[in-house]
Amino acid sequence: MGLFICGVSHHQCPIEIREKVYLSSEEILKIYQSLNHEQIEELVIVSTCNRSEFYGIFPSLDSATNFFTRIIQNFRGCNPREIEPCLYHYSDDAAVRHLYRVASGLDSMVVGENEILGQLREAFRVASDMGTAHSVLFRLFEKTLKIGKDVRTKTKINEGAVSVPSVALDLAQKIFNLSEEKVMVLGTGEMSLQICQGLKRAGAEIAYAAGRDFEKTRRFAMDFGAQPIVLGEWNEKLFETDILITSTSAQEPIVFRGEIQKQMEARKHRPLFIIDIALPRNVEPDVHTLEDVYLYNVDDLKQVAAENVKLRRREIQFAEELIDEAVISFKSWATQVEARPTLELLEEHIGRILEEELSKMGETLSEEQKAKLKDKIRSRILSAPLEKIKDASRQGITHRYLHALRSLFRLDEKMENTKQPERSL
């Protein structure tokens, strides 16, 4: 038995296949319920728009991949041949590392994104509730959620917005508290819509909307509870506005420096944030030179996003270092788990010898004294090997010691008799 991960993700798998592989929460529950008939000890399923992965304790890699393709075929009607080219799998340490990287957002489409950590937490919760995450996966996911959090707090992997609408929102939050700020939109395109949605969520008031197509503008305004205005009247409302978004299809600038300068004097230099996402630009570029006016066009926003992406990429190395440590730590724990049956047998073996020898002493010692002596001798004999095995687990060489122990004390024969299950992690 070993830890295996099988799945598909945005890296190799196009969206058309990911859609077919995606498992809904109801389907995942059904899979967990049907596990009784499978040779699977533990299983956690993660299915999002970017990845569908099975984390489990399987008898072998083949059984893991077969199980994945069979489930996808049964539940989603997806031909295994379609999935196979983009199917990947990891085992043992590589599997742990992969899961840690996923949780840290290093494997995400947008590096460092936070959503995946919540999705993993939910997947773990469901699996725990369904009783399919026991000792190994329970521990693994606990550590996964911790490393996901650690990477985000100890590095800047999730800092800085990386899309145009989120950069616009980020900048607005650097200027205003976004509690009662008023927003005016000139041009009601998709990007304006996304920026307005973000600003509204953050607490700003979408106050005015203007566009060439008045009916479309009216609908846009209605969605945000804004007042639709005629495009030519925007400057009358600028006095009350804190954030101006322009995205009209005008071929020439419609917002001029002189006009804004006049308005700024009337506003007594209350800051004005202008987001010009139109191409060609709607706002004269030298508007930015006016004091307390912050003008960002689409290139500026993209530039900020690109800088943030760069920053996140620089942080990958630090995140990988944290992950390396966490993998070693998990590996050490897993090795100790692996060593447990052998050590238990050794302990029993020593206990039995002591029992036999002490019983030969007859009534010289009371039962209580014998028990105490037995414990003392056993712990003294075992303390050095246990310490050594603990150290070896950190270096990944435990198997040598375990092999030596089994061979020296003939524990293999005893293991055969008791048939303790061995698990390779």
């Binding site: 650097k174 205003f176 230099h269 800051p271 930015h288 307390d292 900020v304």
Partner: protein, 278 residues
């Protein structure tokens, strides 16, 4: 070296370390090490404040009375203590990483100057237990502390403004409050500072009359403080009555703080009756 001075040095070291840890937490030095320095930075600031508090207690025990402004050194130490008190206790809700980053070097400079000038002579002041005197000292120094906080907020505002204007947004800007929030803090602290300064001037005039028999109107310190008060009053008027906003007002507040510093240190070089102005 007496206990009081050792405590003051300990306070200065804590503030300096807090500054270093703040720089580390911002990733401004040693890029690989960051967030785990945030808490120690705050902690050291608190420890520094506590050490400074004990410094005044030790001074009081040594001299037999509590007069934290009997020398230039003590005045600086008390100013830094009042500033830390306002920030850590009264304005605990505005505690942010960026504030600590600007405040900790300011505190370090004040305390370092206090340590360096600790050997300067201490002047005895009559009727130190006078209630007017205590009120005068307390309100004056808390006014200075409030103005200093206003200055810190102004510096942060100007940094944020510059980054937004130059479109070069550094990582540190992620941790800064919004310009609106900073502007609010600039003027709110200023209002508190001015009210306390007016109280300090009023009570100080009464105290000088009580102790010396005449009001210190022509004293260099009194005149410079009144002038500083007028400058701050004008800024507050412009902002709250004339609704003047933005960078220019904030820049002027930095200038006002420089005038305040001059009024604090300047009278030292001219003849003045104020006791630490030797």
């Amino acid at each position: 070296m007496n206990l009081a001075l050792m405590l003051l040095i300990a306070s200065g070291i804590c503030y300096a370390l807090s500054f270093v840890f703040s720089l580390l937490s911002f990733g401004l030095i040693f890029k690989g090490l960051r967030e785990h320095f945030r808490r120690p930075a705050f902690f050291l600031l608190r420890v520094g404040f506590l050490a400074a508090t004990f410094y005044f207690a030790a001074e009081a025990v040594e001299h037999g009375y509590f007069l934290p402004v009997a020398s230039f050194s003590q005045a600086l130490a008390f100013l830094s203590w009042a500033l830390a008190f306002v920030y850590l206790v009264l304005l605990s809700s505005v505690k942010t990483d960026s504030f600590s980053l600007v405040l900790s070097p300011l505190l370090t400079v004040f305390v370092s100057l206090a340590i360096v000038t600790a050997h300067l002579p201490v002047k005895t002041v009559p009727m130190t237990g006078n209630v007017y005197f205590v009120m005068h000292i307390a309100s004056a120094f808390f006014a200075y502390a409030a103005f200093s906080l206003s200055f810190v907020a102004s510096v942060l505002y100007l940094i944020g403004h510059h980054q937004l204007k130059s479109k070069q947004l550094s990582h540190s800007s992620q941790k800064m409050p919004s310009l609106e929030e900073l502007e609010k803090l600039v003027y709110q602290s200023m209002v508190w500072g001015l009210l306390l300064l007016i109280l300090a001037i009023g009570v100080g005039l009464i105290w000088s009359k009580t102790v010396y028999g005449h009001i210190w109107v022509s004293d260099a310190k009194t005149i410079s403080t009144v002038l500083t008060g007028i400058v701050y009053g004008a800024l507050i008027y412009l902002h709250y009555v004339s609704s003047f906003h933005g960078k220019r007002g904030v820049s002027l507040s930095v200038l006002a703080f420089l005038i305040l510093l001059l009024s604090f240190v300047g009278p030292r070089f001219v003849q003045s009756s104020h006791h630490f102005v030797q």
